[in-house]
């Protein structure tokens, strides 16, 4: 492969791909806040149902194809059977995968050359759109949208899914290019997860739950209040039902999610403070914090990207190739799907090793090996990624010491040459340990049967923290002059 560079592949597409232009002038603090929030809200608003699906597929077909990736949806802000079927997964995964490949020197990019940077960016974008296209067709031809679609329906579904994906890619790019607080996918994830959380807790929309036409509220708290005074249930039965219904969010999972969120808040504030002093002025002492969650929620996101790939690959093999037929060889090797409540596809044995169980009870009885394999998988991928990321993302020990030198700062009690070495002892340990701890937290949440809500709340809160940090720094740099904060009556964030 000498002389060939992957990013060159993007060259012919360069004039075709629309690109968000860099802002001409510096975007102010208020504008950035508005851009970020509006972009994320546009995303939430984009969850339109798809046109062209076969009507009522459940009754026609005896074994309908159901959602195989339900537990991964939360993390990627994906809503089933809407335009955002795959959420921001292709955007996130292509960005992460390309960065990792570049970091491992598998893709040769010289980030100092402007043209290389542009090509790399376009390549990432192309990759993301390609993934939308491939995923859309995998789902269409597996029969997820109905078994006998006409050519017109297939084309329609393709156009919808790919165009929506293209739109999301550009939406993320708007924020990433400096109009909002980076990164775009983080902002979108945080807002969508917050939305889903509020929907699950306080959602007032009524959904049909049985064939008799009874409805229950989506929100766990609202449901509790309603079932206390509903006529077809006893008072006690209503309360018990509110805690353990499994078709809609219940209070138990809600409480677990809140506990997980609090745990992330706690972990996020674990840090080692290094004493630093200025080399220029005497007597100026300060501390430089190195956080335990050095790279935030990215490691979890990476683990989930890998999980997604594994599960999509399995879905292709089992559903497209073998037709989910228990007698085929593939079914026996990879594992198949069993439907649950006519809503979800639950993977069977070998595949179930990497699938969080539906409930604690399921975990003990059906998947006794899953806790070990799933946790190990998350910890290993997370820690590996964290170690790599801190080296390639411009916040490695060497980068920080270069930054220190530039600003005339040194660690107290170390010579200038020793800084890099001292940081080298701390930074990789911090990032890998943080990633491992976070992975364990995600695993615990998921193994308790949160069906992806555990991972998503952890991601949501840690993304929120990353954004908050950027916003605080930006706010202080802009001198605290912000019309927004004055309106909202916030004093000194």
């Amino acid at each position: 492969m000498a002389g060939f560079r992957l990013i060159e592949l993007a060259k012919p597409f360069l004039p075709l791909l629309p690109e968000v232009e860099l802002p001409y002038e510096k975007i102010g603090f208020d504008d950035k806040v508005v851009y970020t929030i509006i972009a994320a809200l546009i995303y939430v608003f984009g969850q339109f149902p798809l046109v062209g699906m076969a009507k009522a597929p459940v009754e026609e077909v005896s074994s309908p194809v159901l959602d195989p990736i339900y537990f991964l949806r939360g993390a990627f802000a994906a809503e089933p059977k809407t335009l955002l079927e795959f959420g921001i997964f292709p955007v996130v995964s292509s960005a992460l995968v390309m960065q990792v490949l570049a970091g491992l020197k598998l893709v040769k990019v010289n980030f100092k050359v402007r043209q290389d940077r542009e090509l790399f960016q376009s390549c990432t974008k192309l990759f993301s759109i390609l993934q939308y296209f491939v995923l859309a067709n995998v789902f269409i031809f597996s029969g997820y949208y109905g078994s006998d679609l006409t050519v017109f329906q297939i084309a329609l579904l393709n156009v919808q899914l790919v165009l929506a994906g293209f739109f999301v890619t550009l939406l993320v790019e708007v924020i990433d290019k400096g109009y909002g607080f980076t990164s775009g996918s983080m902002a979108i994830t945080a807002v969508t997860i917050a939305t889903n959380f509020v929907g699950d807790v306080f959602g007032v929309n009524q959904l049909p739950v049985d064939s008799e036409g009874h409805t229950e509220a989506q929100g766990a708290v609202i449901n509790l209040l309603q079932s206390m005074r509903s006529s077809h249930k006893s008072f006690l039965g209503g309360i018990v039902g509110a805690f353990n219904r499994d078709y809609l969010p219940n209070l138990t999972t809600t409480l677990l999610v809140v506990v997980l969120a609090a745990a992330v808040c706690l972990l996020n504030n674990f840090r080692v403070e290094l004493a630093i002093r200025s080399t220029r002025t005497r007597g100026v002492n300060n501390v430089y914090p190195i956080r335990l969650l050095y790279i935030g929620g990215l490691s979890v996101l990476f683990s989930y990207v890998i999980l997604f790939y594994i599960h999509i690959a399995a879905f292709v093999l089992v559903q497209l190739v073998a037709g989910n037929d228990p007698s085929s060889v593939i079914y026996k090797i990879v594992g198949g799907y069993a439907s649950s409540n006519n809503l979800l596809y639950v993977p069977q044995f070998p595949l179930s090793l990497l699938t969080p169980p539906k409930s604690v009870w399921d975990c003990v009885t059906r998947q006794p090996l899953t806790p070990m394999t799933f946790t190990t998988f998350l910890v290993l991928t997370g820690a590996w990624f964290a170690n790599l990321w801190q080296r390639i993302s411009g916040s490695s020990a060497r980068d920080i010491s270069a930054q220190f030198k530039e600003q005339g700062i040194t660690l107290t009690g170390h010579r200038e040459q020793g800084i890099s070495k001292e940081l080298e002892k701390i930074v990789p340990v911090a990032s890998t340990t943080g990633a491992a701890v976070l992975a364990v937290l995600v695993a615990v949440g998921e193994l308790l049967g949160l069906k992806g809500k555990g991972a998503s709340i952890i991601l949501g809160v840690s993304c929120g923290f990353s954004l908050l940090e950027l916003i605080t720094v930006e706010y202080q740099q802009s001198g605290g002059q912000s019309a927004l904060t004055q309106v909202l009556g916030v004093s000194g964030a």
């Binding site: 929030i37 994320a40 809200l41 939430v44 608003f45 969850q47 339109f48 149902p49 046109v51 945080a190 807002v191 969508t192 917050a194 939305t195 889903n196 959380f197 509020v198 929907g199 306080f202 959602g203 007032v204 929309n205 969120a261 609090a262 808040c265 706690l266 504030n269 674990f270 840090r271 080692v272 403070e273 335990l292 820690a383 701390i426 990789p428 340990v429 911090a430 890998t432 340990t433 491992a436 701890v437 949501g460 809160v461 929120g464 923290f465 908050l468």
Partner: protein
């Protein structure tokens, strides 16, 4: 984590080393006291809920739209 050395030996030692380094690091960490912690949780909670409520309001708008177009 030495860069050189026997590969297999390193592989066997890595998890032990990792756990040891990690727990030492966590020991060294400065942890927030309960007062700080409640402050953080409250701030994050309010922010999260506020954004979530706005987002959910938008989602509610979707319900009549769904009826119209499906």
């Amino acid at each position: 984590m030495a860069k050189s050395g026997n590969q297999i030996e390193k592989l066997a030692e890595a998890p032990v080393e990792f756990v040891k380094d990690g727990s030492a690091f966590i020991q060294k960490c400065k942890k927030p006291n309960s007062k700080d912690f409640t402050k953080i949780v409250r701030a994050v909670g309010i922010g999260f809920l506020a954004v979530g409520v706005i987002g959910y309001a938008i989602k509610l708008v979707h319900i009549p739209i769904r009826y119209l177009i499906v």
